[in-house]
């Protein structure tokens, strides 16, 4: 090719790359707006007064932002206590689910035995009934065992976090090459040692992912929490506390305060994800696979 044509091709390639980058960042911007806008709306609503909230047409930013809603929510010690309870319940559910789910996932993903397929379906079946159907039966079991509110919530939430954890971890364990396992066993490790030192670190991404999703799912649950904590106000979780937000007068709904609570509650969850998100894409450590 002549020098001019080379230059033109090079310019075209540069132009393509630049357009590519611009489009990429445009895509990021669109996605950010789509994901964050309703949350932005909640934040804005939390800063508005009750009068401005019902005004037409709706405004994108409050004329006179007020912190009254945030102040009232944070000053509500029932809500603050609920934050603590929710954290306790969600963390316990997540840890338990990961623990139980990891060992079950290892068995189902890497071992051969009778009833493997059936077990997977039975575990999946745990989440196939709608919540309202199992509520009455669960409530009866809880009362029979005399379980206080917090443990009963922790146990009940496993109903939907455990199958999910088991299936995802089974899939991940299965996807890990057997060569690793066999190599470790050749080196003299027992099954359990192989599990702890080889497989577990490699499944960190899967553990973090399911852990995050399970945590948030447990955090969000409302129906079971409401029923189990009606007689135990200190054990109420955040969704129940928010549902019990009311205005000063019956039937009034304090939308601004509910939005303030939503904002306050979401921020620690986002921080949690920020801390752990690197682990999600940690990927396979170089060298372990190539061996």
């Amino acid at each position: 090719m002549t020098g001019r044509r080379v230059a033109r091709t090079r310019r075209r390639r540069v132009a393509l790359r630049v357009t590519g980058r611009v489009l990429f960042w445009l895509l990021i911007a669109v996605l950010l707006v789509y994901l964050l806008f309703p949350f932005y709306w909640a934040l804005v609503s939390a800063l508005k007064t009750q009068t401005e909230l019902i005004r037409t047409p709706a405004t994108l930013w409050p004329e006179n932002p007020v912190l009254a809603n945030f102040r009232s929510v944070l000053g509500n010690d029932r809500f603050v206590r609920a934050l603590g309870v929710s954290t306790l319940v969600a963390s316990s559910v997540t840890l338990l689910s990961l623990l139980v789910g990891a060992v079950a996932g290892y068995a189902l993903g890497k071992m051969r035995f009778q009833g493997r397929g059936a077990s997977l379906y039975v575990i999946l079946a745990m989440t196939m009934f709608p919540q309202i159907a199992v509520l009455a039966g669960l409530y009866a079991v809880i009362r029979l065992l005399g379980m206080p509110a917090v443990p009963s919530m922790i146990l009940s939430y496993m109903l939907f976090t455990l199958p999910f954890t088991v299936w995802v971890l089974t899939s991940f364990f299965k996807g890990l090459p057997d060569s690793l396992l066999q190599a470790a066993q050749v080196d003299g490790a027992t099954l359990l040692q192989a599990f702890r030192h080889v497989l577990l670190p490699l499944t960190a991404p899967a553990l973090v992912t399911t852990g995050l999703l399970a945590f948030i799912q447990a955090w969000n649950e409302y129906l079971f929490a409401l029923t189990f904590t009606v007689i135990d106000p200190p054990a109420r979780t955040v969704p129940v506390a928010i549902a019990l937000f009311t205005g000063e007068i019956a039937r009034q709904e304090p939308f601004g305060e509910i939005m303030a609570a939503a904002v306050i509650v979401t921020i620690p969850l986002v921080l949690l994800v920020l801390i752990f998100q690197q682990r999600i894409v940690a990927g396979l450590t170089a060298g372990a696979v190539k061996g």
Binding site: I54, A136, I249, A250
Partner: protein, 424 residues
């Protein structure tokens, strides 16, 4: 020596008192001010009865959520809650779970309350709940707009209301407020629609769905005319979205100054007069209009206190309930919380009238309020109401004609209750 002795005596006494402590748990509303008032009342009771501890629990304010919660507890025959705050439409359906308050001394106080409510709360001769506070549907109207468009007073018939609403709506829209509508009310498919629709039907002389003696009266021309008229409002003087409106949605539009008339419960009165409200001082209330040849009708609302059959201390619980609903307690709630009392004498009490002047005009509304047929159709009122409001809703959304809908309601209620049909 003497000091140690008295200390020991005090400890022993305290131990005796603590050992004999009765705990009564009250499940009440979660509403800010209401809850505070209930807690204060509980404190007063505990001072008078030091051997009783009263716990006040909040439950969700939305009636349906509360009902679901209560039902779970009744299914489990739980004795965790002794006193329940129940809606005016629940005594019939939930009668089997509550004790007869007449067995616990309610006979003397019953005559102080509005007879309509006591009758509503009596199932098979048993007083299921003592009335606590009451509610009735009212017509809110903008005094400034009525004056601006030359109307002498609030409408007394639905036809008048329709005309006034149209005139004001057209005028306000022309003046530059495209979000203005004439009349807002509760049109969503829920119990609130039963309240509104019952008012239309009853004010036309079309009966109250099921008469107190157990006849299904809904299928008549007057009821059809009433529902037809309401359906004609949707999209003309009421926004299309009124079929999704509950109490709060209607109040939000009204309080933003975007409606000339509103049908709602008394709670919106003080909220409308809040300091930062756009309509402060520019509105008033009136009994709802009537249909042609009919009388104004307001649906009876309100809450009662009932004592659970599974309670471990029914006598103590009944005492707490009757205390909370007594004259003095209701007076405090009226003055401090603007909660409409159920004791008739309180509507002439000077302190109450000084604090809440418009209660005086409400007295007639409450004495003439229409009760929903919850007691007549017990224990299936929820299903009857559901049949009624879903059929009316389908007329409002244009999916059915009023004549068809009313026939459906009749057939449905017949299936549910087995009652005979008849005319109002």
């Amino acid at each position: 020596m003497r000091r140690t002795l008295s200390l020991i005596v005090m400890l022993v006494l305290a131990g005796a008192v603590a050992g004999a402590q009765t705990v009564v748990t009250v499940a009440a509303g979660a509403v800010g001010q209401e809850l505070e008032l209930t807690r204060a009342a509980a404190e007063r009771y505990m001072k008078l009865h030091p051997d009783v501890t009263v716990n006040v629990l909040e439950t969700p304010d939305l009636s349906d959520n509360r009902l679901g919660l209560y039902l779970q507890m009744f299914e489990a025959k739980s004795s965790d809650v002794d006193v329940f705050q129940i809606d005016v439409i629940w005594p019939g359906d939930l009668a089997e779970h509550f004790v007869d308050l007449y067995d616990y001394g309610a006979r003397d106080v019953a005559k102080e309350h509005f007879p309509a409510i006591i009758e509503n709360n009596t199932v098979d001769g048993r007083l299921i709940g003592v009335p606590w506070f009451t509610d009735a549907g009212l017509l809110y109207y903008r005094t400034d707009l009525l004056e601006k468009y030359g109307f002498s007073g609030p409408p007394t018939t639905w036809a008048e209301l329709t005309d006034m609403a149209k005139t004001i709506q057209d005028g306000e829209r022309a003046a530059g407020n495209p979000d203005f509508w004439g009349f807002v009310w509760q049109g969503n498919s829920y119990e609130g629609l039963t309240c509104d629709a019952l008012e239309w039907v009853a004010s036309y002389g079309g009966g109250s769905i099921v008469s107190p003696d157990g006849t299904i009266t809904i299928n008549n021309d007057k009821a059809i005319a009433a529902i037809d008229e309401a359906a004609s409002w949707v999209g003309t003087i009421s926004p299309n979205g009124v079929t999704s409106f509950g109490e709060e949605e209607a109040r939000n539009m009204w309080q933003a100054g975007n409606a000339a008339f509103m049908r709602n419960w008394p709670y919106a009165y003080s909220l409308g007069n809040a300091d930062d409200s756009v309509i402060k001082g520019k509105f008033d209330v009136n009994p709802l209009p009537a249909g042609p040849g009919g009388k104004p009708a307001a649906t009876l609302g309100g809450w009662q206190l009932a004592v659970s059959k599974y309670s471990k201390n029914p006598a103590a619980a009944a005492d707490v309930a009757l205390f909370l609903a007594s004259y003095d307690e209701q007076k405090i709630r009226a003055v401090e919380g603007s909660l409409n009392p159920t004791i008739m004498a309180l509507y002439q009490d000077p302190d109450v009238l000084a604090a809440v002047p418009f209660f005086g005009s409400l007295y007639d509304v409450f004495t003439n309020a229409v009760a929903r047929p919850s007691t007549a159709t017990a224990p299936d009122y929820a299903a009857v109401s559901r049949a009624f409001y879903s059929a009316v809703h389908s007329v409002l959304t244009g999916q059915a004609t009023a004549a068809d809908a009313v026939a459906e309601i009749e057939a449905d209620v017949e299936d549910i209750t087995g009652f005979p049909t008849g005319q109002p």
